[in-house]
C-alpha cells in the first residue's frame, strides 16, 4: 500500500523534473535588453515633451511605459529568434537563452505577451494611432529586421534602424493624436544616425558576426566602403537634424545645437572616411565618432525639449 507521503514525494519529483529551467526574474529582465531600452525611453520622452499640446502626466507615464514594454518585447523576440547565432558569438553567448538558463518557449511567450500587453495598454489608455505605430515598430524589429533582413543583406542595420526611430514618433502621436512633418524629421534623424553610429563601432570592435554568418557592412563591403558610407550618411543626417530649425518648426536653442553638433559630426565622419587604418586598436577616428554619436543624439533631443520648454 502506498503511503500519502510517498504520493506527495512522487508528485514533487514530477513537478521539479518537468520544469527544471525556471527562468529567474533577472534573466527575464535581461531578455528585454535594458541598456538599449534607455535610448528608446529617452527619445520617446523627448518626442512626447516636444509635441505641441499637453498630456495628463498619468497618461504620459503610461505612454512611456507602453513604449518601453514594446521595446522590451521586440528585444525578447529578437533574442528568441537569434539564440542560434547568439550562442556562436562571444559577446552574446552569456545571454539567458544561449547560456541555457531559459527555455526558448518561455522567451517566445514572454515576448508575445509583452508585445500584446504594451499595444493594448497604449490603445486603451492613450490613443490607437500611437498603439498602431507601436505595434508596427515591434513587428518591424522582430520580423522585418530580425527574421528577414539581418541575415540576408549588409543593409540590415540601415533599414532595421527604422525600428529604433519610431519611439519619438509614438511619443509625439501620444500627445497630438496625429503625425505631422516634425515627428517624421525626428524619425529621419535617428534613422540616418544609426548607420554611422553602428558602423563606427563595427569598424573597431572585433565582433564575430562573420563567424555567425551575419553579413555586416565592414565584413561584406570592406572597411573603406563602410567609411565612405559613414561620411555620406553624416551629410544626410545633418540636413535632417537642421531641417526643423530651417523650416521654422523649432527655436534658436535647438537650431544652434543642431548646427554646431551636426558640423562636428560631419567633420568626425569625414575624418573616418579619409582614414585608412586597418588595425582596430589604432582607429582613433572611429572611436571618437562612436563616442560623439551617442552624445550627439542625447544632446540633440535634449535641445529639442529645452527649446520647447524654455521658448514656449
Amino acid at each position: 500500500m502506498i503511503k500519502p507521503t510517498e504520493i506527495i514525494e512522487t508528485e514533487m519529483t514530477i513537478v521539479t523534473t518537468s520544469s527544471y529551467k525556471l527562468a529567474s526574474a533577472k534573466d527575464l529582465f535581461a531578455l528585454t535588453k535594458p541598456r538599449v531600452m534607455s535610448l528608446v525611453i529617452f527619445t520617446a520622452i523627448c518626442g512626447l515633451l516636444a509635441a505641441p499640446g499637453s498630456i495628463h502626466p498619468v497618461l504620459g507615464f503610461t505612454a512611456i511605459l507602453a513604449i518601453s514594454l514594446g521595446a522590451g518585447a521586440s528585444a525578447a523576440l529578437n533574442q528568441w529568434y537569434e539564440r542560434d547565432i547568439d550562442a556562436v558569438m562571444k559577446r552574446t553567448a552569456n545571454r539567458p537563452l544561449p547560456a541555457g538558463r531559459m527555455d526558448s518557449e518561455t522567451a517566445l511567450h514572454f515576448g508575445i505577451g509583452l508585445a500584446v500587453f504594451s499595444v493594448v495598454l497604449m490603445g486603451l489608455a492613450v490613443n490607437w494611432l500611437s498603439a498602431s505605430i507601436l505595434a508596427f515598430s515591434i513587428f518591424f524589429y522582430a520580423v522585418v529586421y530580425t527574421i528577414w533582413l539581418k541575415r540576408s543583406t549588409p543593409q540590415n542595420i540601415v533599414i532595421g534602424g527604422a525600428a529604433g526611430a519610431f519611439p519619438p514618433v509614438i511619443g509625439w502621436a501620444a500627445v497630438t493624436g496625429d503625425i505631422s512633418l516634425m515627428p517624421v524629421l525626428l524619425f529621419s534623424v535617428i534613422f540616418f544616425w544609426t548607420p554611422p553610429h553602428f558602423w563606427a563601432l563595427a569598424l573597431f570592435v572585433n565582433s564575430d558576426y562573420s563567424k555567425a554568418g551575419v553579413p555586416m557592412m565592414p565584413v561584406v563591403a570592406g572597411r573603406q566602403s563602410t567609411r565612405r558610407q559613414i561620411a555620406a550618411y553624416s551629410v544626410i543626417l545633418a540636413i535632417c537634424a537642421i531641417a526643423p530649425f530651417a523650416l521654422d518648426m523649432t527655436g534658436a536653442i535647438y537650431g544652434t545645437v543642431a548646427i554646431v553638433l551636426s558640423v562636428i559630426f560631419a567633420f568626425l565622419s569625414f575624418r573616418v572616411g579619409l582614414s585608412k587604418t586597418e588595425e582596430p586598436s589604432k582607429m582613433k577616428a572611429e572611436k571618437h565618432l562612436f563616442s560623439f554619436s551617442i552624445f550627439y543624439l542625447f544632446a540633440l533631443f535634449g535641445a529639442l525639449v529645452a527649446d520647447r520648454v524654455i521658448l514656449a
Binding site: T16, S18, Y20, S24, A125
Partner: protein, 52 residues
C-alpha cells in the same frame, strides 16, 4: 498533462532549494507588478472619467 523528459534527472536537494527560491522570487515580483498595474489602471480610469 506535461510529460517527463527522460534525460532530466531528479533535482538534488540543493537544486530543489534554489528552484523554490527562484519560484518565490518570481511570485513576489509578479505580485508587486500586479499591484502596480492595479494602481495604474485605477489612475488611468480616474483621469479618463474626469477628462470626459
Amino acid at each position: 498533462m506535461s510529460e517527463i523528459d527522460p534525460d532530466k534527472k531528479p533535482m538534488t536537494p540543493e537544486e530543489q532549494k534554489a528552484y523554490q527560491a527562484r519560484q518565490k522570487q518570481r511570485a513576489l515580483i509578479t505580485a508587486g507588478l500586479l499591484f502596480f498595474l492595479v494602481v495604474l489602471f485605477y489612475l488611468i480610469t480616474v483621469v479618463k472619467i474626469s477628462g470626459s
